[in-house]
C-alpha cells in the first residue's frame, strides 16, 4: 500500500480537494491548476491521490497499463495484437500519479529511442516516457509556470487527445496516454500564458490556513506522519476508505444524472454574463456540476451545484485586464449573485 501522506489527513484546502475529487469522478473535466504559495500542501494532496482512488485493473504485461475493459481502438498496439490472439491476463495496480520534474527533457516526457537496446543489440525500440506512465492516472507538474511553454503545450495536447504520437529518430509510435494533468504554481513567480490557462478544466487558488488552530493541526499531523508514516497512514485508513467509496459511488451514479435544459441555459447565461471566450467554460461547468452532484450523492443536478463549481471552472477563463485589482473570483461571485439571487 502507498505510504504517502493520507488524502483525508490534509487540513482544510477544501477547494483543491474537491477539484481533485471531481476529476477522479469524471476525468473528462480536464486538468486542474492549483495556484498558491509554497508549503500549502499542493504536492501533498496530489501525491495522496492514489490512496483514495479505486485501484485500476490493467492488462498484466502492458507497459502502458491498458484497460482490459476498454474498446480495442484505444488499446496500445501490443495489447490489440494480444486481444486478437485471445490472451489477456489482468492485475490490479494503484492509479499512477507521475511527477514531471521541472526541466525534464522532451525525450523523457514523450519517450525516445531506447538507447541501451539500440547500442547493445542494434534494435530500434521505443522507450516509453513519463506520458506513458501517467496513462489512466495523473500527471503532476509542480511549478508549471516555470515550464517551457512548448512543453506545457505538448502536455495539454496529449491530455486533451488521450494519445501520444511520437515521430522522431526513425520511430513512429502511437500509444494511449489518457491522464489528468495537474499543474501547480505560484502566480507571483510568473504567469501561465492565457491560452494555456484556458485549457485547464479547473483552477483553484489556495492559501495557507489563516486560522491558527488549523495551522497547528496541519503541522502536528505532518510531524506525526514524519515520525511514524506507517502508523499515521493506518490511522487515516478508514477516512481514506470513505473518500474512496464516495468516489466509486459517484462514478456509478454519474451516467444516470440528467442534465436539464434549464441547467444548460443557466450555465450559458452565466458564461455570457462573464464574457468567457469559447465554449469550454460551459462544457466544463456542466461536467463539473454533474460530478459534484454525483459526489454529494444527489439525484438531480441543481443550480446549487453549478454555483459551487463556478469559481473553479470559470475563474481562469475570464478575459483579464491585467491591471484590474479585483480578482476574477470576485467577479464570478458578483455574476452568480446577479443571476441567481437578483
Amino acid at each position: 500500500m502507498s505510504r504517502a501522506f493520507p488524502f483525508s489527513a490534509i487540513v482544510g484546502q477544501q477547494a483543491m480537494k474537491h477539484a481533485l475529487e471531481i476529476t477522479a469522478v469524471d476525468p473528462s473535466v480536464g486538468g486542474v491548476l492549483v495556484r498558491g504559495d509554497r508549503g500549502t500542501g499542493k504536492s501533498t494532496a496530489v501525491r495522496a491521490l492514489p490512496g483514495v482512488l479505486p485501484p485500476l485493473r490493467v492488462i498484466s504485461k502492458c507497459v502502458y497499463g491498458c484497460d482490459p475493459a476498454a474498446d480495442a481502438t484505444v488499446l496500445c498496439e501490443t495489447c490489440r495484437a494480444d486481444e486478437a490472439a485471445g490472451r489477456r491476463a489482468t492485475r490490479q495496480q494503484p492509479v499512477p500519479v507521475v511527477d514531471l520534474p521541472l526541466g525534464a527533457s522532451e525525450d523523457r516526457i514523450v519517450g525516445a529511442l531506447d538507447l541501451e537496446r539500440a547500442l547493445s543489440s542494434g534494435e530500434k525500440v521505443f522507450e516509453p516516457g513519463l506520458l506513458a506512465r501517467a496513462h489512466r492516472g495523473y500527471l503532476y507538474v509542480d511549478e508549471i509556470n516555470l515550464l517551457e511553454d512548448h512543453l506545457v503545450d505538448l502536455l495539454l495536447d496529449v491530455a486533451a487527445s488521450g494519445e501520444n504520437i511520437v515521430e522522431r529518430e526513425g520511430l513512429s509510435v502511437r500509444h494511449p496516454a489518457d491522464f489528468v494533468l495537474v499543474g501547480s504554481g505560484n502566480p507571483e513567480e510568473g504567469e501561465l500564458r492565457p491560452q494555456l490557462l484556458d485549457r485547464f478544466g479547473l483552477a483553484v487558488d489556495i492559501t495557507t490556513p489563516s486560522v491558527l488552530s488549523d495551522r497547528v493541526e496541519a503541522v502536528r499531523r505532518a510531524d506525526a506522519y514524519r515520525r511514524d508514516p506507517a502508523a499515521f497512514v493506518a490511522r487515516y485508513k478508514r477516512k481514506d476508505g470513505a473518500v474512496r467509496k464516495r468516489i466509486r459511488d459517484a462514478r456509478q451514479r454519474l451516467p444516470s444524472l440528467e442534465t436539464t435544459d434549464a441547467l444548460l441555459e443557466a450555465a450559458s447565461a452565466l458564461c455570457l454574463r462573464l464574457g468567457t471566450d469559447g465554449l469550454r467554460g460551459e462544457l466544463t461547468l456542466i461536467r463539473a456540476a454533474r460530478a459534484s452532484a454525483a459526489l454529494a450523492g444527489d439525484e438531480t443536478i441543481t443550480t446549487a451545484h453549478l454555483r459551487a463549481v463556478a469559481p473553479a471552472a470559470l475563474a481562469h477563463r475570464l478575459r483579464r485586464d491585467p491591471l484590474d485589482e479585483s480578482g476574477s473570483a470576485a467577479r464570478i461571485e458578483r455574476a452568480l449573485a446577479e443571476q441567481f439571487d437578483g
Binding site: D37, G39, L102, G190, E191
Partner: protein, 625 residues
C-alpha cells in the same frame, strides 16, 4: 542547555549548534543551507560537521549537474569503450541515507532544485537524505533557489572568524550526538509549544507550513541533544533562532523600536537569548504587523510609503487573526513572545531583502533563476536550446552526443557492427548539433526619477504610462524591472520579473519628492542591466527624468559634484552599450536632458505635455518594441 553550547562568537556558536542538531536528525531536518564564502572558517565548520555526522555516505554534486549525474543513466563513454551498454547509478541513488553536498548552490537553477526537492519529498524513508547546500552568494540576488532552501530546516551564515575562535573546542562531541540520536524519536512536545511555534511563524509573516514543521523538529532535536524527554523553553528558542528567524518576511516589531538591532544582529543576540531586554516587545508588534512589513533598510526611502498598503494589510490581517486571540487566551502567548525575541536576533536586512522586498509573502524574487543553468550549459552559443539538427560541430555549434548516438544506433547492424568488432559505427551524417533560439527575451528596466523637481507633477503620468507599458510587456512576455531614485539613493524596487502583479504593486507604492540623485539612478540601472544580460536577457532601459541631478553619488547635495558624477555614470553606462531611451519629463524640454541622453548613448524623447497614453505610444515606437 543548548544555549550554553553555543560558546564563542554567536555566529560561530550558532553554526556549531546547527551542525549538531542536523547531526542528531539529519533526514528529519532536511539539511543545512550554509551561506558562507569559501575559506578557512567554512572548512573548519565542515570538518567539525563531518566529525559529528559520523560515518555516513557523502556525495558531492555540482549545481549544474544534469539528469544523467543525478538519476543515473547510460554511461556513454564506458558503453562505447566496452561495446555494451553500461548503466551508471545516479548520485541521488548512491546518497540514500547519507548527506548530499551541493557545491555552488547559489548557481542552482529552479529545475535542479525541483529535482532534488522531488526526491527529498518522496515518502519512502530509506531513500531520503540530508542536504548541505554550500551557498557562496555574496548578495541577496545570488542565492540558492527557494524550492530547495525551503526544505532545509537550518540556515547557517558564517562570517570569517578569527582563527582563535575556529580552533576553539566544538561544544558537542560525536558521542553526545550518538546518544541524542537514540533519544530523538521519543522526544515529545507540549501542545502549548506547538501553538507558540505556529503563532510565531505567522507573526513573522512566514506563509509556508514547512517552516513551523522544521522548527518543531529542530526543537525536538535540541531537546534530544540536551537529554530531555520533552521539548522545553530553551529548545523552542533555539528553533526560533535557527529556523524561523532566517525565514522571517517581516519584522515582528515596528521598525522604529528595532532600527538599531538589525544592523548588528550578532551583537544584539550576544547576550543570552532569554535574558534579553524586552525592547522588541513582541506583544505590541502583533497589532502592528502592517507597518512592520517593511524592511526598514532595504526600502531605503521612507518605508511606510513604499509599501503597497493592500498587500501589507492583507498579510497583517492574516497574521493578526491568530495572534489576537492568542495573546488574550492561550498560555502559548508567553512562549511565542520568547520565540519572537529569539527569532528577532537572527533577522537582518539581507534576509528580508532575499524575501523579495518584503512585499509579497511567499514570492521568490529570483524568478529569473533557471536561465543561468541553461545559458551555462549552452556555453559559446546564446539563447535557449531548442532541440538538435543534423550537422557537423564547429565553434558555433556544439555536438549533442546523445542525439548523435541516437541517430547512429539504429544502423549499427546494417553497418556491420558485430560481436567480433563491437566498435560503434558512427558516420558523419549521424552528427547532431544543438540549436539555440535566436530570439532573446527582453527585460525592460524602468528607471524613474521620483524626485520633487521632476516628478511632483509628472509622477502620476509617469506611473500611468508605465502601467500601459506593463500591459505591452505582459503581452510580449517581457520581463519588467523598476528602479526609482529620489532623496539620496536609488532603489531597485523590482528586479526583472515576469509577474505583473508584483510590478504593479511596486509601482503603486512608489513615493515621490526629495532631491535628485541622478548619478545613483544611472548606476543602479547599469547594475541591473548588467545582471539581466548576464542572465541571457537583452536589457532595455527606459529612463524617465528631467536630467537635473543635484545629489552626488556619495549622497551629498551640490549641483556641480552631482553633474560630475552624473557624467561619469553616463559614460560608464554608454560603455556597456545597453539600449536605452531617455524620456524628458520636464514641462519644457531642456538641453540638460538632451545632453544626458547623448552622454548615455540613449535616444532622447522630449515629452512636454504628454498624457499617459501618448507617453506609452511614444516609448513603444521609440524603443522599437
Amino acid at each position: 542547555m543548548a544555549e550554553q553550547r553555543s560558546g564563542g562568537g554567536l555566529a560561530w556558536g550558532d553554526a556549531c549548534l546547527a551542525a549538531a542538531l542536523c547531526a542528531v536528525a539529519p533526514r528529519a531536518l532536511g539539511g543545512i543551507h550554509l551561506r558562507a564564502r569559501h575559506g578557512p572558517t567554512r572548512d573548519a565548520w565542515r570538518a567539525g560537521f563531518r566529525r559529528l555526522m559520523g560515518k555516513i555516505t557523502e556525495q558531492r554534486v555540482a549545481a549544474d549537474a544534469d539528469d544523467g549525474v543525478l538519476f543515473g543513466g547510460l554511461d556513454i563513454a564506458a558503453s562505447l569503450a566496452a561495446g555494451r551498454a553500461i548503466v551508471a547509478s545516479g548520485v541521488l541513488a548512491r546518497v540514500a541515507g547519507g548527506l548530499l553536498v551541493i557545491a555552488g548552490a547559489e548557481r542552482c537553477d529552479d529545475a535542479f532544485a525541483a529535482r532534488i526537492a522531488a526526491t527529498m519529498d518522496r515518502p519512502v524513508c530509506d531513500t531520503s537524505f540530508a542536504v548541505l547546500a554550500l551557498d557562496e552568494g555574496d548578495n541577496p540576488d545570488e542565492r540558492a533557489p527557494d524550492g530547495l532552501v525551503e526544505r532545509l530546516a537550518l540556515r547557517v551564515d558564517l562570517e570569517e572568524q578569527p582563527s582563535a575562535e575556529r580552533t576553539a573546542e566544538w561544544p558537542v562531541t560525536p558521542a553526545e550526538i550518538i546518544a541524542a540520536r537514540r533519544r530523538f524519536p521519543a522526544v515529545t512536545i507540549d501542545d502549548a509549544y506547538l501553538d507558540a511555534i505556529c503563532e510565531t511563524a505567522a507573526a513573522l509573516g512566514i506563509v509556508s507550513l514547512r517552516a513551523p514543521l522544521a522548527a518543531l523538529v529542530t526543537a525536538r532535536a535540541a531537546a534530544a541533544l540536551d537529554d530531555r524527554a520533552q521539548v522545553g523553553e530553551a529548545d523552542v528558542a533555539v528553533a526560533a533562532r535557527l529556523v524561523l528567524g532566517p525565514r522571517a518576511r517581516q519584522y515582528p516589531t515596528p521598525p522604529s523600536s528595532t532600527t538599531d538591532e538589525p544592523d548588528e544582529p550578532d551583537e544584539a543576540s550576544d547576550d543570552d537569548t532569554q535574558a534579553r531586554p524586552a525592547d522588541s516587545a513582541p506583544t505590541e508588534s502583533e497589532s502592528n504587523t502592517g507597518e512592520a512589513a517593511t524592511p526598514p533598510e532595504t526600502a531605503n526611502a521612507t518605508p511606510g510609503e513604499t509599501q503597497p498598503s493592500d498587500s501589507a494589510s492583507k498579510r497583517a490581517s492574516n497574521a493578526d487573526a491568530p495572534n489576537d486571540e492568542a495573546s488574550e487566551a492561550t498560555p502559548a502567548g508567553n512562549y511565542s513572545e520568547l520565540m519572537l525575541e529569539a527569532a528577532g536576533a537572527r533577522i537582518n536586512d539581507d534576509m528580508l531583502a532575499e524575501a523579495g522586498t518584503g512585499q509579497t509573502p511567499g514570492a521568490a524574487p529570483n524568478a529569473r533563476a533557471g536561465r543561468r543553468g541553461v545559458i551555462a550549459r549552452a556555453s559559446g552559443t546564446r539563447g535557449r536550446p531548442v532541440g538538435t539538427r543534423a550537422g557537423l560541430p564547429d565553434d558555433r555549434h556544439r555536438l549533442d552526443v546523445m542525439a548523435t548516438l541516437r541517430a547512429a544506433a539504429p544502423w549499427q547492424t546494417v553497418r556491420g557492427r558485430t560481436q567480433a568488432s563491437p566498435r560503434l559505427r558512427v558516420r558523419a551524417d549521424d552528427f547532431r548539433v544543438r540549436r539555440h533560439a535566436q530570439v532573446q527575451e527582453t527585460a525592460t528596466l524602468f528607471v524613474v526619477d521620483a524626485s520633487g523637481s521632476s516628478a511632483l507633477h509628472r509622477l502620476a503620468e509617469t506611473k500611468g504610462a508605465i502601467e500601459l507599458l506593463l500591459v505591452d510587456c505582459y503581452v510580449r512576455r517581457d520581463r519588467v524591472g523598476l528602479i526609482a531614485f529620489r532623496g539620496t539613493t536609488a532603489d531597485t524596487l523590482l528586479p526583472p520579473t515576469r509577474s505583473l502583479t508584483r510590478a504593479r504593486r511596486a509601482l503603486a507604492g512608489l513615493p515621490g519628492g526629495g532631491p535628485t540623485p541622478l548619478a545613483c539612478g544611472l548606476d543602479a540601472a547599469l547594475h541591473q542591466a548588467g545582471l539581466a544580460s548576464r542572465d541571457g536577457l537583452s536589457p532595455r532601459v527606459v529612463i524617465l527624468t528631467d536630467g537635473r541631478g543635484n545629489i552626488a553619488r556619495d549622497g551629498r547635495p551640490g549641483r556641480a559634484a552631482a553633474e560630475r558624477d552624473t557624467e561619469a555614470a553616463a559614460r560608464a553606462f554608454r560603455a556597456a552599450g545597453h539600449a536605452a531611451l531617455l524620456v524628458d519629463t520636464s514641462p519644457r524640454p531642456r538641453p540638460a536632458a538632451e545632453r544626458l541622453a547623448e552622454q548615455l548613448g540613449a535616444r532622447y524623447l522630449p515629452l512636454p505635455l504628454a498624457d499617459a497614453t501618448r507617453l506609452s505610444d511614444a516609448v513603444r515606437t521609440q524603443a522599437g518594441a
